[in-house]
């Protein structure tokens, strides 16, 4: 019994409350991804989804399929927030941003972090290409599905 201390520690009941609260209160969300320590959780909601959603969406690359055609200039791909929270462009305060306009990124490169309840989820580019525009400001509150950056696929 004693040695399971470390196992339970990464997830507290407070985290559980926050996760359930987010699941319940994010009415417009079709899918939410949580990352807390070594725990990864994807929750897909039933009912009318704001964007068409494929079953396999979060399996390998949760962000790859989240491109919506609307409002995106021809030939560009949107990177959207996988979860609601605070968006950070750099891995730490004062550090260089993950990406800047003009940078070339691979599919798996991180372009930012989203913080929920002091826990950080990495946002990956999802598409190999060049960063054309960064839409979300550093430390801004972003909603699920909100566009964070535009990529020109290469």
């Amino acid at each position: 019994m004693l040695n399971d201390k470390e196992i339970t520690y990464t997830l507290t009941f407070h985290d559980v409350i926050e996760i359930l609260r987010l699941v319940r209160e994010s009415a417009g969300c079709a899918e939410i991804q949580f990352q807390i320590g070594d725990l990864t959780l994807n929750v897909a909601k039933a009912g009318p989804a704001p964007a068409p959603l494929r079953e396999s969406i979060a399996q390998e690359n949760p962000n790859a399929q989240r491109t919506a055609a609307a409002e995106v200039p021809d030939g560009l791909v949107k990177i959207t927030a996988p979860v609601l929270g605070t968006f950070y462009r750099a891995p730490a305060p004062g550090a260089a941003p993950f990406v800047s306009v003009g940078d070339t990124v691979r599919e798996s490169d991180p372009i930012g972090l989203i913080e929920v309840m002091k826990l950080f989820t990495s946002v990956t580019a999802g598409t190999a290409g060049r960063v054309v525009e960064i839409l979300a400001e550093n430390a801004a509150l972003v909603e699920y599905g909100q566009p964070l950056a535009l990529i020109e696929p290469l």
Binding site: T8, D15, I17, I19, N42, E55
Partner: protein, 490 residues
């Protein structure tokens, strides 16, 4: 070293949740509760037993056994209300003995006994009976503010308790009205009188925002224990929080022997219970002199006040509540300043309402109050007002009632004959306290408890998400564990 007595399962739910904490929820953190290192954990009372049977349909005996199982090395404590025990009538010694024996069999180690009049003759026998069955027994002094409740009064009561062989003396402040100066003088007087013969324990509620200043004095006075509860079950009408008192003890340099990490785990769990049950977590109360002064007159406890307002509304008297409360202050004084706990708070509140409603004082007097003024419940701190006695007893067959006459009577054999047979002595007690219909409903409706009751956040999360409506699928990965769920559309 000051020990901490945990009241998360007893005082907390009774003061904040109308005593409605389910057994299953109580069992979820026993591992941490035991490891935290509390001196004792008070887990039940008459109110908890009654609510378990009548409302929650949880078998209160099974609750005790399961708590024992979950905390095999903890010292489990139970609060006992005078001669009422876990019921509402006054019961003789043989029922006290049977109850204590059953508690002991379910793994209880100690009882703390109070009488709402501080009439210790009512509970004198409890201590010897407890020792006979192998329980430790604390005697409680219920604090009140009145011309009769002086430090000398409490010293005399403490010495009386010592004479009955108590294992410790608990100074309890049910209404949270003990401020720092009074706590200092009263505790000093008690310490001097008790002179180290038994430990002194302290319980104070945060209703008025005085709990921390009172606890500061208690810790400085070197009391042996103070009572606290997990954050979600503390403050407001309840006791202060364990971590709050732990911080205070650290600040004052008082060692407590508590494992703060285990306490945090326990708090984390009970925050979850509060959240899933929809209970708000009360904030610490800020002291308000005006509110305090108004309260001191009547001392009607917060738990009763909400019911009382409802009753006044039904009687069309809500607009006159201030008048009723002033009358309650007068009635309380005339009745000899009973401690405003069950049933005396009801006596005072109801009589004050009747007096205002009828426009004539003591025109109508409830039967129970008639018994009270005749001495059926024992002796109050101050004599009952002579004019009130005359008016209440006018034309009635008078003569003081010997409140001790029933102590030696025998009721169990007859009860068994008339209402039995019973499956066990524990079942008999439930029948005696709550009646057949409730016990049968309990047997019919109670649900089996999970075999393994300690809860882990991950399993709680998965269970909650599995029950969550409107989900399509979920996928969870944690270390080597991987879980996928797909919900059928409904």
């Amino acid at each position: 070293m000051t020990g901490l007595v945990d009241e998360t399962l007893r005082d907390g739910p009774q003061s904040l949740w109308a005593t409605r904490m389910k057994t299953e929820d109580m069992l979820g953190a026993t591992e941490w509760m035991e490891r935290a290192g509390f001196r004792k954990l008070c887990v039940t009372s008459g109110a908890a037993f009654e609510t378990a049977v009548k409302f929650l349909r949880d078998d209160p005996w099974e609750r005790l056994r399961r708590l024992r199982q979950g905390m095999p090395n903890a010292a489990i404590d139970v609060l006992i209300r005078s001669r009422n025990l876990f019921g509402w009538e006054r019961y003789p010694d043989e029922v006290v003995a049977l109850l204590f024996r059953c508690l002991k069999e379910c793994g209880v180690q100690s009882v703390k006994v109070f009488d709402g009049l501080n009439c210790m003759r009512n509970i004198a026998a409890h201590f010897a009976i407890a020792h006979d069955v192998g329980l430790k027994a604390a005697g409680m002094l219920s604090f009140s503010i009145s011309p009769a409740h002086t430090d000398e009064h409490y010293v005399a009561k403490a010495i009386e308790l010592l004479g009955y062989g108590v294992d410790s003396i608990v100074l309890a402040d049910p209404a949270g009205i003990l401020n720092a100066p009074r706590a200092r003088s009263l505790l000093a007087a008690l310490k001097a009188a008790v002179a180290g013969r038994v430990p002194i324990e302290f319980i104070s509620h945060d209703c008025m925002g005085l709990a921390y200043e009172a606890h500061r004095e208690a810790l400085l006075a070197g009391v042996d224990t103070v009572s606290t509860a997990a954050e979600a079950l503390s403050h407001g009408e309840s006791v202060p929080s364990t971590l709050g008192i732990l911080r205070l003890a650290q600040e004052l340099g008082c060692p407590t022997g508590l494992d703060a990490e285990a306490v945090r785990r326990m708090d984390d769990y009970f925050d979850w219970v509060a959240w899933k049950e929809g209970h708000a977590v009360p904030a610490p109360v800020v002291f308000d002199q005006l509110r305090y002064e108004k309260f001191i007159g009547h001392q009607i406890p917060g738990g009763m006040m909400s019911n009382f307002r409802n009753q006044l509304r039904e009687a069309g008297l809500l607009g006159r509540i201030e008048e009723v409360l002033e009358e309650a202050s007068r009635v309380r004084a005339e009745l000899g300043y009973p401690i405003m706990v069950t049933p005396f708070s009801q006596f005072v509140g109801v009589q004050a309402t009747l007096n205002v409603l009828q426009g004539e004082r003591y025109k109508t007097v409830p039967e129970e109050l008639l018994l009270y003024v005749q001495g059926h419940y024992g002796e109050p701190a101050a004599p009952i007002d002579a004019n009130v006695l005359d008016r209440v007893l006018a034309g009635k067959s008078t003569g003081a009632v010997d409140c001790e006459a029933l102590f030696g009577t025998r009721i169990l054999e007859r009860f068994r004959r008339e209402h039995g047979p019973f499956g066990s002595e524990r079942e008999l007690l439930l029948h005696l306290f709550y009646g057949r219909s409730h016990v049968e409903a309990l047997e019919r409706d109670k649900k089996p408890l999970p075999a393994r009751a300690c809860r882990k956040p991950l399993e709680v999360l998965v269970e909650a998400l599995a029950r969550e409506p409107g989900l399509k699928s979920l996928r969870l990965k944690k270390g080597p564990l991987s879980l996928g769920m797909r919900f059928s559309p409904c």
